[in-house]
């Protein structure tokens, strides 16, 4: 049988960099193929070439045995290649059908006007194959991310795609939504579509993919059959060394630093939340997407408005009205969406670090830039910024290094209470363990830390204690010795008493 897709010696060089070196592997029709590697391993470059955005410097690739040479993305689309990007490329105000036909609308007989009825009919046909519950005439912005993704897949089906590449498709899906996506992917596979699946989440990769190709430094390390390969071996291939399995270390002190009493939000569904955090403690917060975890952190950071309840720091009540008041009380938020809420992209790493502390760094109304750079040198070295160029614009750094810069920001501000929202989302395996070590170090210094995470192994690895949230409330508090993925999931979906293992039930409202 001819391979659906075959890369043959693809090499891509940019001035000064060899992004891909002699990449060769193949994917069979109906195969779900994981493309694995750390950030910068060359996955994106390869996908760009596949989708006609970039051209290889040398080497070629074949679709169904035919040499493919794409001058522009449109030719890749016509050849049956579809990309589902991590950040969905849709126009929020247009309808599902309009988005599916964007750029190649169906015209009426005269060829001037758009035939909306025909578009919606054809959109409905495509959607019926995978999720008939989506209304083709609904505006895209009224759909959940998971549904929008399904629309993209249906669009690929409309284009008669033979190969669908998905880049981190599950980064904002709940476990139930992932299961639905997995079913759809398997259905596509049954239709003979080859799937390229890019994800950092090993459990998902092993759950749905048949084979995988591991890349490192622009080269193929190897293609493996995932059924007879251990996860640890794949990770070792990705990072080029064994990541030792790490034990949890606890640094919890006696004294309570943060006490939250009956806290409710004025803008979200967070209600009646009470808990404490001690010095040196890492408190994990688990729960489904939409359970109120992020919203709770935003309340504590002064970003969202509190409706009722109190927050006490070291025994005294904190008046939390704005992020400034939270920062003054020693609270620092490390947001999930770093690009949107964390960084000033065009400014240097050191300015991004110093941003909340410019008052502290000033004398007589003027910023002492020397003090800023002294501090930046020390703190950014401490968090191991790479490359160590403190005056370089932060947008030029990887996600992991941007996260390190935000950690340094709160160290500079003297924050004692750090709120991490999905600390390692979009961060590769190597940087991940660095962030874990940093969080541990901070706890060892006596800082109080709250970690919100959708990755249960991460919560379990880091936390001394875990709160499980459901529908804006705390559903359970679990001590370290009670922690297991099953227990957390059971409390998160609300059937802890029933002892079921299935996390497929939707939360009653999100």
């Amino acid at each position: 049988m001819t391979a659906r897709l075959r890369f043959d010696g693809i090499t891509k060089t940019f001035p000064g960099v060899k992004a891909l070196t002699d990449v060769s592997f193949e994917i069979a029709p109906g195969e779900i193929h994981a493309l694995l590697g750390e950030n910068g391993a060359g996955k994106s470059t390869l996908l760009r070439i596949l989708s006609g955005v970039g051209k290889p410097t040398s080497g070629e690739f074949y679709v169904d045995g035919e040499l493919a040479s794409f001058k522009k993305p449109e030719s890749a689309r016509l050849a049956g290649i579809a990309m589902i990007h991590q950040e969905l490329q849709q126009v929020p105000n247009l309808t599902v059908a309009q988005n599916m036909f964007l750029g190649h609308q169906i015209k009426t007989a005269g060829g001037v006007l758009v035939n909306r009825r025909e578009q919606e009919k054809r959109a409905a046909e495509a959607l019926a194959m995978i999720d008939p519950s989506i209304d083709p005439s609904a505006p895209i912005k009224t759909l959940k991310v998971a549904q929008r993704q399904i629309v993209e897949i249906a669009r690929a089906l409309l284009d008669k795609a033979k190969i669908i590449a998905m880049d981190e498709p599950t980064s904002s899906l709940t476990p139930a939504e992932f299961e639905r996506l997995a079913t759809i992917i398997e259905k596509l596979s049954g239709l003979g579509v080859a799937i390229i699946y890019v994800s950092h989440k090993m459990d998902e990769v092993f759950r749905i993919c048949h084979r995988g190709t591991v890349m490192r430094d622009g080269k193929v390390v190897g293609s493996v059959d995932l059924k007879d390969t251990a996860e640890a071996d794949v990770i070792a291939m990705m990072v080029g060394r064994e990541l030792q399995h790490e034990e949890h270390n606890s640094f919890v002190k006696e004294d309570v630093r943060v006490e939250v009493r009956d806290l409710s939000s004025a803008v979200t569904h967070v209600r009646g939340v009470s808990f404490t955090v001690r010095r040196g403690e890492v408190l994990g917060i688990a729960g489904l997407v939409g359970s109120g975890r992020t919203e709770l952190l935003r309340l504590l950071a002064g970003v969202d408005t509190i409706a009722s309840g109190t927050v006490h720091i070291d025994g005294s009540v904190l008046k939390l009205t704005t992020p400034r008041s939270a920062i003054a009380a020693g609270i620092g938020l490390l947001p999930e969406e770093r690009k949107r809420e964390g960084i000033i992209p065009g400014r240097s790493v050191s300015v991004n670090m110093a941003l909340p502390s410019f008052g502290k760094f000033s004398k007589g109304g003027l910023v002492r830039h020397r003090a800023v750079s002294t501090s930046a040198n020390e703190l950014l070295k401490r968090v191991n910024l790479r490359p160590f160029q403190i005056d370089r614009a932060i947008r030029l750094f990887s996600g992991g290094n941007q996260q390190k810069a935000i950690i340094a920001r709160w160290l500079a501000a003297g924050s004692e209470i750090l709120l991490f929202d999905e600390p390692t989302r979009g961060i590769d395996v190597g940087a991940k363990s660095e962030i874990y070590h940093l969080i541990e170090q901070l706890a060892a210094e006596g800082k109080s830390i709250i970690v919100v995470s959708s990755e249960l192994p991460e919560v379990i690895r880091l936390s001394d204690r875990v709160l499980v949230m459901r529908n804006g409330r705390i559903a359970a508090e679990l001590d370290r010795d009670q922690l297991s993925e099953q227990t957390i999931v059971a409390h998160a979906v609300g059937d802890a008493g029933l002892k079921t293992k299935s996390p497929q039930q939707e939360p009653s409202h999100v």
Binding site: R324, V351, F358
Partner: protein, 325 residues
Amino acid sequence: MSDITSSAPTRPSKKLFASLSLRDAGTLIGLIIIMAVFAMLVPGFLSERNLINILQQSSINACIALGMTLVIISGGIDLSVGPTAAIAAVLTAALLVAGYPVPLAIAAGLGIGMVCGLVNGVLVAYVGLQPFIVTLGTLSTYRAIALIYTGGNPVLGVPASFRSLFNGSVAGIPNSVVIVAVVAVIAWIVLKKTPIGEYLLAVGGNEEASYVAGVPIALTKITAYVISGLLAALASLILIGRLGAAEPILGNLWELDAIAAAAIGGASLMGGKGSIVGTILGAIILGAMRNGLTLMNVQAFYQLLATGLIILVAMMIDRLTRGRG
């Protein structure tokens, strides 16, 4: 702003030079090319007297553009600078004609300019309206106030004591040039050396992230608009010093020249980016163009055409040079 003035470094010129970024160097090269072209076409273009003329003719636009630059950096725009200047001009002139002391009249003029800016700032920062719409609204409102206040008539008879202050010269350098140079140095210090400067760049670069990081968003934006109003008022004082009268229709389309100077100088209308040195060079480029074309007896229509083209060319060069990587 007085405390900022008093703590200004004593040798700003040296620091100005050191801070010349790549983008500013590009603007400077543009200016040099334009000067060279006119030097070939117009005899006496590079004479000391004409160079001083160019600076003087650029001073009003430069003054407005400095405030505009800070507003643009913060992610906003101030379309109301012309009418703000008109209100300040007619109020100052009326007070002077009525016999009030010069310092009081100046303070009142600058004060009303700041109030105009404050209104813009509050509407943007607290009411949450878009800067373009807010200042489009106040553009008409402020103009109407100036017209209603004067009944549409110019205020004539500004006393010589006031005129000499803004229209005189020190050692051959016009006072207006000196005033704007001082303002430029202060603006540079504000942007580069004070927390509010960092806040302006941060808010314009990513407002949401700035808020989460504890930047005082409202204060930052309001400061930018108040400075813009203040500098519009100052520019109007320079103008009535020169003319000896204040017209309620003065300052028509000043906002466009100011935006052009800021953009040529590297300010991004998306916010988060802009340069004081660049804006000054941008204002001088526009001033030199007009001066040169006038000396060549080019008709006003063609001057307008040339100005428009130079803005587009400058922006295309900017785009092309930034496009790499």
